[in-house]
Symmetry: C2
Subunit: 355 residues, 2 copies
């Protein structure tokens, strides 16, 4: 019996929801240092410097919650743990510089297994020119927990918060959405089949894209570079970790506005569409894009004046526009039906809030 379960005036964690919980836990923390330009409440914290600002974020991955060792190679896990932390740096329009990694594992892992994990961490560091500058390792009696703290730099006038979207701004996203969740659906399906028949050999070749999207996501610094090259500073930005709907609601809340996105404009890969049709007649790809999460694409808004600078990009998709304060966040279907967006991101999945 655990005494923590028998308290008077108890509020269940599930009742509050993650963001409300974070608000509740952090609302009384004042900012006292002049160098703290931005604390809790965005993708990264910002620490003042002259000209260049340091941005920093921390991201935890917990076994059984964020990953399943049955189908997650350790090297991929290490890579992904770093990639999703770096994605927060990209979401600030910054460049990554350093990471710190804290890992707790039980003795069921061997040194070689941890080396595999670190090989993946190193691979991601090399890919994005990031230095591993510290960390911590400790025992665990149970599952593995990996916490990555990432540090980046950006000129103060280029920092992009969630709060800057203005009326009539264009809503853009990179890459495609819903594919990571489709990859997870495939892996979960194969796991069930394998558990029923251990001789089963999964054939995953035709799902290579969605599997890679789930197992080895990439932070979109190429988009950060494109924006710089084209002389665009987004008015607001966030990365897509909990699904498009959740992220749009974040942008609208922080920017005090509404939004309208068009269903047919939401970029969806054909493998995502195929997985959906295989899984269930009722599963529509748009739903994966809105609610799936873990795509780690960038969702951002730009001034209409910048339209000409992005309209030819194959990697940046204009999916809608910002509406006035008090308007809801909605998706318009091809049949011109308007659907209110609600946040349905995975419970327990990695959230990339820095709050």
């Amino acid at each position: 019996m655990d005494e923590l379960e028998y308290q008077e005036g108890r509020t269940e964690l599930g009742k509050l929801g993650k963001f409300a919980l974070i608000d509740r836990l952090t609302e009384e923390f004042p900012i006292v240092n002049a160098s703290t330009l931005r604390g809790v409440g965005d993708d990264c914290a910002v620490i003042g410097g002259k000209g260049l600002c340091t941005v920093v974020t921390t991201q935890q991955m917990v076994e059984h919650i964020h990953f399943d060792m049955t189908y997650t190679p350790l090297k991929h896990l290490g890579y992904k743990a770093v990639a999703i932390a770096l994605s927060n740096i990209a979401a600030m329009n910054a460049r990554p510089r350093q990471i710190l990694v804290a890992v707790s594992v039980s003795n069921r892992f061997s040194v070689e297994a941890l080396e595999e994990l670190y090989a993946g961490i190193r691979f991601c560091c090399e890919r994005y020119d990031v230095d591993l500058v510290g960390g911590d390792t400790s025992s665990s009696r149970t599952g593995m927990v990996i916490t990555v703290t990432a540090i980046g730099e950006v000129e103060q006038d280029r920092i992009t918060y969630r709060s800057g979207a203005r009326l009539h701004d264009l809503i853009c996203c990179s890459g495609d959405l819903g594919s990571a969740y489709s990859g997870l659906l495939v892996l979960e399906r194969e796991k069930v089949t394998f558990q029923a028949d251990p001789n089963f050999q999964p054939d995953l070749d035709s799902y290579d894209y969605v599997l890679e999207r789930y197992l080895k996501p990439e932070p979109r610094f190429d988009i950060v570079d494109i924006l710089r090259q084209r002389d665009i500073i987004p008015t607001s930005m966030i990365d897509v970790s909990d699904g498009l709907a959740s992220e749009l609601l974040h942008l609208c809340k922080e920017s005090h506005c509404g939004c309208e996105v068009y269903e047919e404009r939401i970029p969806i890969d054909y493998q995502t569409t195929r997985v959906c049709s295989e899984m269930s007649q009722n599963m529509i790809p748009t739903s994966n894009a809105l609610n799936g999460g873990e795509d780690y694409e960038l969702l951002f808004t730009i001034s209409q004046a910048d339209y000409e600078k992005v309209k030819d990009s194959t990697e940046i998709h204009i999916i809608g526009h910002i509406t006035e304060e008090g308007s809801p966040a909605v998706m318009v279907t091809p049949q011109n039906t308007t659907i209110n967006l609600v946040a349905q991101g995975w419970q327990g999945t990695t959230d990339d809030d820095n709050d």
Copy 2:
């Protein structure tokens, strides 16, 4: 059955030891950014700035490994998680500025329980003028894990690494040693008694000091301030998290030197001595100081030229001196016996290396 347990060429984690493991895991990470002045291998990473440097460290506390909920109030736990991260900042001779906190917990914790945890975090932030600037929370199917990343600032010419101790330097430590471990011994004893007889009411009043030392350690920024006021820059510094012996060995290894400390100079509180005599005839207080850990005092070396500046301090104790390269790290007893120091810090306890 877990396939991780059945690998060929497996090296057991326990065989390698934590520091060797960290060396092995991190040796292939190059430093590629000019701004990374110091990465893995000291108490904090150092990130270059003009004049002021940013120092950053991350520290993980894992339930059942670093803390036992039976006798650790959540408020104390939150305070301690921050305090031990800040202690690393102090060990660089820096001032703390920001923290990020990542917590994973299971549903057995209520919102109120987490609020207690965060109340302790906040209390420590307020005590040391630190801003909470970010973090992450996630579910856990099992125990609680708290990861605190701390960021500090220091002028580049005042940064104190582990590697600067020179021949004949004086070895100093703050406060007293072995008391935190003595507090833990008392708590463990009371737990066993309580488990045998649930009606047992522990009387802990006469152990207040050692209990507070274990449950609510304080980073020694007062020592950092004293050093500044007296115009002293230590030649090397580390905080005492794994016991005096382990930390002395770290300083000697990194500074390529030996050392000699005098048993009667090691500061030990009378409660530590009393707990030892209660526990066993064979338990000597010096052993708790050498091997107990979690005192979070500062251990540092100063040039002999600075002797006059510290000799009257009640908070700084000169316990020995640095010997030449190739000499062992030893303790000299009052009977003039020389004992080679060996690292026996707790297995699984919090280590405050930034590696």
